[in-house]
């Protein structure tokens, strides 16, 4: 028993030390940003992201640092990743909109429907469906155990069953978007979309830094993309960063 509590204390202490280290690194990166050393700040944020994990605030600050370094594409990637974690954060949305307005040429934007669906994360939609599903079945079980309550519980059962179906449908759409659709964000100053996945293929159109394109196919180091106006071409994967659809 004594041994166990010693191990637990050691783990808690190590966890606190680890959290303190991350917070120190984060503050150091913020300091670099405040001093106007944006590229160095971006690198510092990136190191934390690679070593520790992610948080909406960390991605938000990283996006800011990339923007100040003039990298629109990387900025949009960071803000969109932050938005996936915290979709109702108005500051992330405001900065994402601000940066997107600065992207030249064609770029994809979410539709109103996608924006509405994106108000909850995929996990939040999943938990909503699960909660409605559990409540529906709890009421059904209650009706079996106490048949006298059936009439009283009928309305609530229908409400939760309908909510399960409705939110389940949305979850299906969001999950399909998440797992089957991808968005490519241009992270080089400009990228020429070519007619085929070959180095000497004809250039069909040019996408600029920060432009968002939907991914249609992937072959080796090449991805096939479509612009908002329906132009289709192949880009090298090193020119883009790929984000999940939702």
């Amino acid at each position: 028993m004594k041994k166990l509590s010693t191990i637990l204390l050691a783990l808690i202490f190590a966890g606190k030390l680890f959290a303190a280290d991350v917070a120190t690194d984060f503050s150091a990166a913020n300091q670099l940003y405040a001093e106007g050393k944006f590229a160095a700040a971006a690198n510092a944020y990136k190191k934390i992201l690679a070593a520790v994990g992610t948080s909406p605030n960390l991605l938000f600050n990283y996006g800011n640092a990339e923007f100040k370094s003039g990298n629109l594409g990387k900025t949009i990637v960071a803000f969109r990743r932050a938005e996936l974690l915290a979709p109702r954060d108005s500051e992330i949305r405001a900065n994402l909109d601000f940066v997107r307005d600065r992207v030249q040429g064609e770029t994809l934007r979410e539709s109103r429907r996608q924006m509405w669906l994106g108000q909850l994360t995929l996990n939040e939609w999943t938990l909503l469906v699960a909660a409605a599903f559990w409540l529906t079945f709890i009421l059904l079980v209650a009706k079996q155990i106490r048949p006298t309550l059936a009439a009283k519980l009928k309305g609530a059962t229908w409400v939760f069953a309908s909510l399960t179906i409705f939110s389940g449908t949305i979850l299906g759409v969001q999950a399909a978007n998440h797992f089957s659709r991808q968005t490519a964000v241009i992270i080089s100053s400009e990228a020429g979309a070519q007619s085929g996945p070959f180095a000497d293929a004809q250039n069909l159109f040019t996408a600029r830094d920060g432009a968002e394109l939907s991914v249609l196919d992937q072959r080796g180091d090449w991805i096939q993309v479509a612009s908002g106006s329906g132009k289709i071409g192949w880009l090298q994967t090193k020119q883009v960063e790929i984000l999940p659809g939702a």
Partner: protein, 598 residues
Amino acid sequence: MNRFRPQIFPIVGFLFLAALGFVPPVAVAAGFTASLDRDTIAVGEQATLSLKFDGVQPQNAPALPDVAGLQFQYVGPSSSFSFINGQTSSSTTYNYIVAPQRDGEFTIPGMRVDVSGQQFASLPLKLIVSKANAPSAAAVNSGSEVSFLKFTFPKNKIYVGESEVGQLDLYLRDDVQNFGNFQLTGVPTDGFSAGKIAGLQSQHRRVQVGNRVYTVIPLAVPLTAVRTGALTLGPFTASAVVVLPSQNQGGDPFFQQFFNQGEQKQVTLATDPVNVESLPLPEQNKPANFTGAVGDFTMTATAGPTNVTVGDPITVRMQISGRGALDAITLPAQDAWQNFKTYPPTTKMETSDQFGFQGTKMFEQIISPENADVHELPPVSFSFFNPDDGQYHTLTQPAVPLAVKAAGDSPMPTLAANKNGAPENQTPQDILPIKENLGRLETKTVPFVVQPEFLALQSVPVLAFLAAFIWRKRTDNLANNPRLRRQRVVAQLVNGGLSDLNKFAADNKSDEFFAMLFRLLQEQLGERLDCPATAITEADVDKRLIYIGASPAALESLRELFHLCNQARYAPIQTRQELAAVAAKFKKAVMELQSLKP
């Protein structure tokens, strides 16, 4: 009709079973072949490469080898299934368009493909690509050409960076009834950047060439020189399908003009190459802030707000209007802005012609004064080279006076203090500032919706419901079945009674033992015979039990038990062992009774 039915049924049945997967496919040798639909084409034409897999199907379209001078574009797969003499075979063909970039003899090497561990190889293919030639002047003038292309460029000398619109004219002879599928198959513009080729609908015309009249359909080719030296435009190549009057329909010429459906003919078109000399921009008098703008432009610039605090954003808007490659214009670095912090500019372009050569490019740049000593925004300048006069020009806007206060003199700007997103009715001037706290860290996790544990957990309410449903059904069933209810009550009573019997036997309480035994016999037999327990007597054993299938041994045993109960009233058994033996006998008899179906 009826005589076909017997023959059709087996086939339909077989196909139905085959569709359901009940008929095992007859093994057909797997194979892989590569083929070209043509082995000789001209530059500008396309061939189709087909990779056919018999009996096997790879998961993805096979990757093609690189062949210098040939471009491959994947079109899509096609599948076929055949059923001949009881043998089924299937094949999948992956089709690619092969477009040559130059003339010559090309070899598409043999390909090796791995399908589910099986190795397949194809033979090399040869493709001869001949030059696409424009028709001779004599052929054009003779009127023998159904259709031809001509390319004209307004200048034979051009400065690098200069933009001009070339014209590609498609000539169609007057007897062409219709044309379609026009495709530009080759647009060689080496040293030029080509814009989107657009049709000039308003400039269709008819011209006489030799003895024939042609309809001219012009296409505009916007071009910007990007390299110096001797450049060549073309030969542009295209393909189209034209419809000509049919030569094979006899009859009255009067009716022919109404009923002649025409013959389709595929035509391949090519222009003569056009040589253009691209001149470098002169080094003499080149302004220091020249960034490569070539054309003829004007500039306007505004800045605001002009009354600010150190660190506040000031928006500088510049508009460059005119003719030239607007897309390539970049904002020159303003060296005089060293007292300002500058942010990446944003650009917007509005063109007034369809080629993007005429219009306005707008730049918006956020700058902020770094100290309170700044009193003006220095003059903004922009330089360009005008190819019409061969001179550099510099446009300059005058300095804008600024009133800059020190940072401590006034509250923080609204934007920097805003923590709730951008104001709704105001365009934000900069991104919102960074966040001070890290927030909750998250490691990369798999979404709940695909976690097996999470999905398994969702079966709990369903199982709980099923359990509750089954329980409810059983409860209702019991409530509606008094005999079943009695059966359970009696079973419970007998179980408890057996314990009591053993206890009485152990305590050698003979009277209580037999009283209990008699009661239990009555209850158990009453339940089996569906009559009141108090009405059961020894006589019922012989009269009624036999009808529900009790064995003679069980009947004998029950008779004996009744007999013992009666005997005990007059001559009680005294020993514990005897009582225990009676209890065991009762247990055995009861177990047999309970197994009978009443």
